[in-house]
């Protein structure tokens, strides 16, 4: 108790210096969490956009399909897999897809495209397609009509009721050719998908590709993205891994992961510089504090205070300052994060256009992930402790009479 009291009072011995130190810790935590919340907020947004638009968080595929995306690597999911997914608490729904490539043609133009056989109702839940329909409507489940992306429609100048020819290769070399009416046009926000995506009812696709009952992937709709790793581990243990692959969005979207990592590294470097400045500030304080207190340290060791105890008081002092700064920082930043979570920054003009071109909403929301604050609080406290190594070293080397001569 007395040691705590001593440490606390020692902090206030030089009020101005301690307040400056605590403020600098406050600022470090505040700005680090602020910057990181936006960065991670953007990444989360990017991920949920991409995942929501295309891949889902988790997919089950035939073993080997990811390496060689051929219809020959399609599969008929067995009942045990369906049961597993139906009975899993964290899996709301799963979408079966049959995906392949085909050449599209109309009059004398051609263009390569991705053909995706889907269940429109379920895909609407996952990809939120309805609001993106530009013309027409979802084809009926048992029809052989198409929902094509806007880019493709523009390329061929096609309208509802027109037809599109698909030329491809079916299961085990069968030919997959057909002419299909267009029932809907959808604007997909990602340009590379918008230029070349053709949706059709899965039954029609299976017929086209001579692959009845076969699918290429099961896209799982999980209830809580933050539980992804847990769900993946759980499923991974129950699936027969010789037959099935379980892929999460990081494996399905390697380019996105790379983009995020590269961008994140930039942010971390800036934070590193911020932390370096703070480190020097704290170190400076501890250096001055140590120099001023040499005589006192000498007295304490002379009268019988073990160095370990003395070190404890010094560590307590710096930790108290660190914890104060961290607490104020976290308390200060929380409402700010919350505000920008509810009211994301909306980008204007050019910046907005370029982001929209990539298929993302032009908003920067703040992430509320508590882990961000925890991480940066821990980093700051670690820095404080590292800086405290200086007074600790001084105390360990201290000779009482020498200290008292100073």
């Amino acid at each position: 108790m007395m040691i705590l009291k001593m440490a606390w009072r020692n902090i206030w011995r030089n009020k101005r210096r301690s307040i400056i130190t605590i403020s600098s810790i406050f600022c470090a935590v505040f700005f680090a969490v602020f910057a990181r919340s936006f960065q991670i907020g953007v990444y989360d947004k990017m991920v949920s956009n991409m995942v929501g638009m295309y891949t889902g968080y988790l997919q089950i595929q035939q073993e080997g399909f990811w390496q060689e995306q051929s219809i020959d690597n399609s599969f008929v999911p067995d009942q045990s897999v369906r049961d597993l997914l139906d009975n899993h608490n964290n899996i709301d729904e799963y979408n079966t897809r049959l995906e392949s490539f085909a050449l599209t043609a109309s009059e004398n133009l051609t263009k390569g495209a991705i053909v995706m056989g889907v269940n429109f109702e379920k895909e609407d839940l996952l990809m939120d397609l309805s609001p993106k329909i530009r013309a027409g409507e979802f084809p009926n489940e048992i029809s052989s009509s198409l929902l094509i992306s806007e880019g493709l429609a523009d390329y061929y100048e096609l309208n509802i009721g027109d037809s599109l020819i698909l030329l491809g290769q079916g299961f085990h070399g069968a030919s997959a050719n057909g002419i299909f009416p267009i029932q809907g046009i959808v604007k997909l926000p990602m340009p590379n998908l918008n230029d070349r995506l053709v949706f059709m009812p899965i039954l029609a696709a299976q017929e086209l590709f001579a692959a009845p009952e076969r699918i290429t992937s099961m896209v799982l709709q999980i209830d809580e993205p933050s539980k992804l790793n847990k769900i993946k581990t759980d499923l991974g243990g129950k699936l027969n891994r010789d037959t099935y692959d379980l892929l999460d969005w990081k494996q399905l979207l390697p380019e996105l992961v790379q983009t995020i990592q590269a961008d994140s590294a930039g942010g971390i470097i800036i934070l590193g510089i911020l932390y370096m400045i703070v480190t020097f500030g704290i170190l400076g304080t501890l250096l001055m504090m140590t120099a001023e207190r040499m005589y006192e340290f000498g007295i304490l060791v002379s009268i019988g205070m073990r160095k370990g105890k003395l070190i404890l008081t010094v560590v307590l002092e710096s930790l108290m300052m660190g914890v104060l700064g961290v607490i104020f920082g976290v308390i200060g930043i929380t409402p700010v994060r919350y505000y920008f979570y509810l009211n994301p920054i909306r980008l204007q003009a050019k910046a907005a256009d370029s982001i929209e071109a990539f298929g993302f909403e032009p908003v920067i929301p703040a992430s509320l992930d508590p882990q961000i604050a925890i991480n940066h609080a821990a980093i700051v406290l670690l820095i404080v402790l590292l800086c405290t190594l200086y007074p600790i070293a001084v105390i360990l080397k201290l000779k009482p009479i020498k200290a008292m001569r100073s």
Partner: protein, 227 residues
């Protein structure tokens, strides 16, 4: 019983080529209840001698025994614990921990000894009253005069119930009134409670109050008189 016993105690300072024999073969015995002053001109080796007796400075030659225990071969922590248990220190000035009140300063050393809070409170108040500071319990050192600070230091030194009190020029920074007050208190503690004091000084008024005067010059004892 001999509380302090030095045999042929020497200290050689070596500072690049320059060697100073600050203490030169001092053999000195102090018994329980003595009130002894070490006197001598500046640079004669008083501080060096007291520091070696207090286990604060390494010795170059000879030995120091405190109550029969040779302290030469103790390691750092053993020495710190030994000092805590056996020796009360009063330094020339700024003895006290600035962030603690007078009472807390006195309690602090008992805290290090693991004495219970009730006992600490009782004893610190008793001691501060004995040194005439009953109205300064909750005052911090910077609001005490130099003399009052030294009296708190004496109270703190006594609080740990040491075998003896070592004081290197405890009055050097005090005016004559504070000096005589501090010495009266020390002398009274010595008389009433048989507490052993060993202190250094070059102040004649302090020398006059001592009961044994050991004079050193150039690190050697040149006279040792008991009055």
């Amino acid at each position: 019983m001999e509380i302090i016993k030095t045999k042929n105690l020497s200290k050689l300072y070596k500072n690049n080529e320059l060697e100073v024999l600050a203490v030169d073969g001092v053999s000195l015995s102090i018994r329980q209840g003595e009130f002894t002053a070490i006197v001598g001109p500046s640079g004669s080796g008083k501080t060096t001698l007291l520091n070696m007796i207090g286990g604060l400075d390494a010795i170059s030659d000879g030995s120091v025994e405190i109550a029969g225990t040779n302290i030469n071969s103790m390691n750092e922590n053993e020495l710190i614990d030994f000092r805590l248990k056996n020796i009360g220190f009063v330094f020339q000035a700024y003895n006290l921990i600035p962030v603690l009140t007078a009472k807390e300063n006195v309690e602090f050393i008992m805290l290090l000894q693991g004495i219970s809070p009730e006992e600490r409170k009782k004893r610190s108040e008793e001691l501060l009253t004995q040194v005439g500071l009953e109205d300064k319990f909750n005052v911090r050192p910077n609001q005490l005069s130099g003399g009052q600070q030294q009296r708190v230091a004496v109270a703190r030194a006594l609080a740990s119930r040491p075998r003896f009190i070592l004081a290197d020029e405890p009055t050097a920074n005090l005016d004559s009134q504070s000096t005589s007050k501090l010495l009266d208190i020390m002398a009274e503690m010595n008389k009433k409670e048989n507490i052993t004091f060993l202190f250094s000084t070059h102040d004649q008024r302090v020398i006059d109050k001592a009961r044994r005067i050991v004079t050193i010059e150039d690190g050697k004892i040149i006279s040792d008189e008991v009055r």
